[in-house]
Symmetry: C2
Subunit: 252 residues, 2 copies
């Protein structure tokens, strides 16, 4: 595509104020004037195609990023070569915070689908957050949310059974879709079964079987990337310490 021939409106981020996400993102709770200051620190970033990396573990740190549309996965690779997925980032969510510790990214971020990004060059951010206390506060808030999200992930990995993990994952995704004003009952999963399994500390076969059992139990309807939550109440029940759903395919 030649520059100028096709005009993608999503590409033209005019300002945080005119962005549909501004209530969810860094500008949340910031007044009009301060938001204009924030705008000076935000740069657009080219859209990433599926599978492309936003940054790679070990890269020098230049900027924080916010997902505008699409989604990312962040993961760390260990010396042995296998990865652990740390999280999935939906629109309005920030990535790159781990790089503040020592000016190198500690994880990689990869687009799960065509994804556009706002870039917050850190030098500009520092200046603006210094001048705008409300933005400073809000940045801390957003970073702290990262910490809290990782804590929930840890609880899931440490204390929950496979079935509870998948149920918790689906509920959390549904809730985040809700915040984006999407349908909370129809999830279009941008990540593969392998990614889900890895994120949950399971193997893909286990995830597949659990989807099957939840479908048999009438809680979900699953069709490739599309998961319908038919019984949110029962799904919520599976997040606690419920008994495992039956394994047989027609013993009911």
């Amino acid at each position: 595509m030649e520059a100028g021939t096709v005009l993608d409106l999503n590409q033209l981020r005019r300002s945080c104020g005119s962005c549909a996400l501004h209530e969810l993102c860094l500008p949340a709770g910031i007044d009009r004037q301060d938001m204009e200051r924030l705008d000076t620190a935000v740069r657009d970033k080219r859209t990433l195609d599926r599978g492309k990396l936003l940054f790679r573990q070990g890269d020098a740190f230049h900027a924080l990023y916010v997902v505008r549309s699409g989604s990312l996965k962040t993961y760390v690779e260990n010396p042995a070569g296998d990865a652990q997925i740390l999280g999935f980032s939906l629109p309005g969510e920030i990535v790159g915070v781990d790089a503040l510790a020592d000016d190198r990214h500690q994880c990689s971020a990869e687009a799960l689908e065509r994804t556009s990004i706002c870039e917050l060059p850190y030098s500009m951010m520092q200046q603006v957050t210094r001048d705008v206390p409300s933005l400073h506060r809000q940045l801390m808030r957003v970073i702290s949310r990262e910490v809290v999200a990782e804590q929930s992930h840890l609880v899931m990995m440490g204390r929950q059974q496979a079935q509870e993990r998948l149920a918790t994952f689906l509920r959390s995704l549904s809730e985040r879709y809700g915040r984006l004003s999407r349908d909370t009952a129809t999830l279009t999963l941008p990540m593969s079964r392998y990614d889900i399994a890895n994120y949950l500390g399971l193997v893909v076969e286990t995830v597949s079987r659990l989807f099957g059992r939840m479908e048999d139990a009438g809680i979900l309807s699953v069709n490739r990337k599309t998961v319908r939550i038919l019984r949110p109440d029962l799904l919520a029940g599976l997040c606690g310490n419920a008994r495992p759903l039956p394994r047989g395919r027609e013993a009911g």
Copy 2:
């Protein structure tokens, strides 16, 4: 104890500059003048006895805290009543960052032994970090370290076997002891076996057995709270994907 009758020098934090931890803690890399500004934002906090809570999940957020001596565990409790330990905090380490997200502590912090604490009231911190850019940068660095530490914990929970988890835990503890200029080979564990097991996502029996096997393999000598690392090289080997140590108590 009456005020003034017994003078505990550790209780009298004169300033960050005179604190033995200042190279590890918030003041790291900050010049003399800025450190004096920081001092105005730091308050001493009464020492906590073993088992006492610094803050509790759900408490209103007032301050961040830094361990001066002793140690803490942080943990979240789920509705079902059981807890997941998120981490152990040694001197120089910050706690309470998760509360910045929505002004409530998301986890509880409990002293594992007699522990003294520096308190950083957040309103003062905000003011000081605003005036002192180097301190702002350093606070972000310290918070980001929290994120990175949780990421490592996640990798451990998601991808490592029981034996690798315990080995990784011991190595990490040893390394942190080193930073505090303590002996890296002789660990005095302030936490119980139950705490270790919980932190690692295992049960106490498994931890006990693994200590036994590592002792049989000549890697450790274990005596209640005292663990000597006899072969740091072999311990490092167990952190990767090594084969499990033999289970039998004399088949070697």
